[in-house]
Amino acid sequence: MAASSRAQVLDLYRVMLRESGKFTSYNYRTYAIRRIREAFRENKNVKDSAQIQMLVNKAKRNLEIIRRQLNMKIPCQIGFASNVSM
């Protein structure tokens, strides 16, 4: 596999942030966006191509995780909790 180019990494970053923005839960959404930004920023200056590839694969796995969770469409309200009022 050809080493990931700068454009591919940036593309991955964009896609990850876009998908993370779709989380319906406030806490998960903000955590995902913040963590992705931090992780990409932290590894901005990595030069070793093997390490870059490893990080890119890790990011792709996390993107898969985000996509799977979003596809599940878990309802935010559950029936018996609607009796709770404050």
Binding site: I74, I78, G79
Partner: protein, 450 residues
């Protein structure tokens, strides 16, 4: 240039601004449909505002990566890990062993020393009752502290009913035990010392390394309930000379209903099994190991190891922010527990001249608690606060703020603002506050005539 443009695009499409947490729980399904199985599909959008979650000591939300690790074992890979004759069993067992390795590497132990249980309560029961009963012929003394979790105190109470002697060590004003008290309490017939690593109500960190050193020099087993500390502060069972450790899954962003106990093999700690059965988990905890839960716990431990430093730094900043905001805007606020030997994510503040329950009810759009979840149903002030010597009135006005991996700066700011507003409002209504403002010393007041 391209980087900045990408960032701009990313922030613009990063979803709608987070919904302002409102007081309303309106928008609920008012129709007479029976809950749960109606023909109305429940909405997937967050149309109802739910309170901010600031009670991470009670439980934590599950990390999405943990849920993802668990899913295959809930759906397709459903085998019993103890089935030896087919691949369903083998793959399930492989997953359990992998999770065991993940938990072991977080605390620096060997995987064979990890036993999976149903939670830290069961682990505490196994540690205390199991060790005490195994050595009961010659050793009948157990030492613990007054600020332990209810399950430890209750296990000790049941041991007392069986004829053991238990010493409950007092804590100093800052919540930490005095090591000299511990050394004086250890007798020739002491089998176990149990001290929790991080307290769940006030967040103090006990000096585990020193206690471990004392216990190993006096040849006494050392058990620590590390449910609130594992994955949040670095723990190593060999450096800290810990013989038994309780771990809870749902305190480190894992699933509820699973925990683990670390039982040292070199030198071997013998434990009498509390639960009898088919001899699973080395005979110490019989019963089918719940593969999905255990896999979730393993994933949570691995994540905790990766994210520990990052999380700790962030949580410390947020905690400082919360405390600084509240204390600089409100007089007469006391932080319970030692400020230095402290895990930053658990902040227990006492607001003088304000009743704790009324403040909790006023802060209804923030999920908080005034003590541990197990004692939240009773009206008594927490025994932990009583043990550290808090005045009765301050003990009633304490609130515990929990900050975790998913807590945001906005949530902390909102909580601080609301807290300041409501404390000021409640103090305005309080006659005690009026008297204090007039310069009257409340301790000189005679409340009754006789």
């Amino acid at each position: 240039m391209l980087w900045r443009a990408a960032c701009r695009v990313a922030t613009r499409i990063a979803g709608p601004s987070p919904p302002r947490r409102g007081l309303r729980l309106r928008g609920l399904d008012q129709s007479p449909h029976p809950p749960g199985f109606s023909d109305v599909v429940p909405p997937t959008e967050e149309t109802v505002f739910r309170p901010l979650y600031m009670d991470v000591q009670a439980t934590t939300p599950m990390d999405p990566r943990v849920l993802d690790a668990m899913l295959p074992y809930l759906i397709n890979y459903y085998g019993n890990p103890h089935s030896r004759t087919h691949s369903y069993g083998w793959e399930s067992e492989a997953a359990v062993e992998h999770a065991r390795q993940q938990v072991a590497s977080l605390i620096g132990s060997d995987p064979r020393e990890i036993i999976f249980t149903s939670g830290a309560t069961e682990s505490n029961n196994i540690a205390i009752k199991g060790v005490a009963r195994f050595y009961k012929l010659r050793k009948k003394h157990v030492i613990t502290t007054q600020t332990e979790h209810k399950c430890v105190l209750d296990s000790c109470r049941s041991l007392e009913a069986e004829g053991f002697k238990v010493t409950y060590l007092p804590v100093q004003k800052n919540g930490i035990i005095d090591l000299k008290d511990l050394e004086a309490a250890i007798q020739p017939d002491t089998s176990l010392v149990s001290v929790m690593t991080v307290n769940n109500e006030i967040g103090v960190r006990q000096p585990i390394e020193d206690i471990g050193r004392i216990c190993s020099s006096r040849k006494v087993y050392f058990h620590t309930d590390a449910a609130q500390g594992v994955g949040k502060i670095p723990l190593n069972v060999n450096d800290m000379k810990i013989d038994l450790m309780s771990i809870s899954g749902h305190k480190i962003y894992g699933p509820k209903g699973v925990g683990a106990i670390y039982i040292r093999r070199r030198p071997r700690v013998r434990v009498e099994a509390v639960q009898s059965g088919g001899g699973q988990e080395r005979g110490m905890r019989s019963g089918t190991v719940p593969t999905p839960l255990v896999v979730g716990m393993g994933a949570a431990c691995e994540l905790a190891q990766e994210e520990m430093e990052n999380d700790h730094k962030r949580i410390s900043l947020l905690a400082e922010r919360l405390v600084e905001k509240i204390m600089s805007n409100l007089p007469d606020v006391v932080m319970n527990g030692d400020p230095v030997q402290h895990y930053p994510g658990c902040i227990n503040l006492s607001f003088a001249y304000v009743e704790g329950e009324s403040l909790l009810m006023a802060l209804k759009d923030v999920a908080l608690s005034s003590g541990s979840a197990c004692t939240s149903a009773s009206l008594e002030p927490s025994y932990v606060l009583r043990a550290i010597g808090t005045d009765e009135d301050l003990a009633h006005s304490s609130i515990r703020f929990g900050i975790g991996r998913f807590t945001t700066e906005e949530e902390v700011d909102y909580t601080a603002e609301k807290c300041i507003y409501h404390v000021k409002r409640l103090r305005e209504m309080s006659p005690l506050w009026e008297m204090v403002q007039d310069g009257i010393d409340l301790k000189t007041i005679k409340w009754t005539q006789h």
